[in-house]
Amino acid sequence: MKRLDLIFSDRELDTMLKALDDGGAPGYTITKHVTGKGPQGAVSEDMEFTDLGANAHVIVFCEENTLEKLALKVKPILNYYGGIGYISDAKTL
């Protein structure tokens, strides 16, 4: 199994979840209201107040071949809007 961590602006959350659903993600977990710093600068809590939203952190546990399908859907969104995606290994408990 693989673990996919996606971190990007809250504003794109719906778009991203749709992409994950389309790509066949067996499930996902969302933490909202996270902040951070990346190549595009810092995202602070006051973003939330301006309707831009802070960041969202989405975790997907899935099989390796599902991951490939997800990557095809997810990468264009990250490229267009910014945000990051990382993969690591995981094993079902």
Binding site: D46, E48, F49, T50, Y80, G82
Partner: protein, 331 residues
């Protein structure tokens, strides 16, 4: 500048709480209003201001002056971004220029609210229908901003998504804040027309509480604005100058239009404040979605980090001075 008016503005609780917030940041106090409390207060203010505006709109009806004023307001929100855009293009690319222009064509509800409190403090009359102008000026500038991108930057955007007008209109009109304001306006209108006891029962919430909630919210706005300002300073002197000169210029245009419309001094000030203020809520959300090439730190920091505090502290009394000069006071 009429120092007396500035002082009268500064020594009111809302502006003092705004200062308390900014000074907290300057002194590096750890005072912080955690999310989602700012949302609570901003929703409350929109709901209350919309509801009260609706009540008054119902009692004033849709006379010629109402239609004229609101129409002129919408027109301003279409013209002002064009002017801003050409000025911004002197130094910035199309994307950033269009996004910032859209912000300055749109409005800031909190600036409007503070101007209302300022007028109440001076006992100058204004009309509830100005809230309708506020509501209708939020979105049009977004459309202008996107049209500017479409017209001025086709070739530069190879991997841009096709602009889908439906989803943009949607974003512009149905942004949560815009929607809540317009919805509350309608509800206020309907309630006033059909259910006078409902109006009375709402009053402790939408009326009595308003001033205090405004203070609490401005405390947070003071913190947020003061945290934003350094990012603007990094963006360079052009944007700093723009964030102060542009509101002044837009206010001046606003005064001329207000005079032409023969608005009373209270309505005139609100009209001018709508022209002079810049959006940091609805517009950034729409711009992020449609023009990701523009730096959000530019359009938020100018509107929120400098123009907003400038208007709250100096702008409002200054514009009042301009209004008093150009529009003969009839009380």
């Amino acid at each position: 500048m009429d120092t007396n008016l500035v002082l009268q503005n500064v020594l009111t609780p809302p502006v003092l709480f705004f200062f308390l917030g900014t000074i907290a940041v300057v002194l590096r106090s750890d005072l912080e209003i955690p999310a989602p409390l700012p949302k609570l207060f901003s929703f409350y203010l929109l709901l209350a201001i919309g509801f009260k505006g609706g009540l008054e709109l119902e009692s004033s009806g849709f006379g010629i002056q109402v239609v004229q004023t609101v129409g002129a307001a919408v027109l301003m929100s279409l013209i002002l971004p064009l002017i801003c855009f050409f000025i911004l293009r002197l130094k910035l690319d199309v994307f950033n220029s269009a996004a910032i222009a859209a912000a300055y064509g749109s409005i800031s509800a909190v600036t409007f609210i503070t101007a209302e409190s300022f007028l109440e403090n001076l006992n100058v009359h204004f009309d509830g229908f100005m809230v309708a102008a506020l509501a209708l000026m939020e979105s049009p500038a977004i459309i202008v901003g996107l049209l500017l991108v479409k017209v001025a930057a086709p070739a530069e955007r190879p991997n841009a998504k096709r602009i889908r007008w439906k989803s943009i209109l949607h974003e512009a009109m149905l942004n949560g804040s815009v929607y809540l304001l317009i919805g509350s306006l309608l509800i206020g209108f309907l309630t006033a027309a059909n259910n006078p006891s409902g109006v009375e029962k709402m009053h402790p919430f939408t009326g009595n509480l308003f001033y205090g909630a405004e203070c609490f919210f401005l405390l947070d706005m003071g913190i947020v604005a003061a945290k934003r300002l350094p990012r603007l300073l990094k963006a360079g002197s052009f944007l700093i100058a723009f964030a102060i000169a542009m509101p002044l210029f837009n206010a001046f245009l606003g005064v001329l239009v207000a005079k032409f419309l023969e608005l009373g001094p209270g309505n005139a000030l609100l009209f001018v404040v709508l022209c002079a203020s810049a959006s940091y809520i609805a517009v950034p959300a729409a711009m992020r979605m449609t023009v990701p090439e523009a730096k959000s730190s530019y359009y938020i920091s100018t509107a929120l980090g400098l123009t907003f505090p400038f208007n709250i502290v100096f702008g409002i009394p200054l514009y009042m001075g301009m209004v008093n000069k150009f529009i003969p006071m009839v009380s």
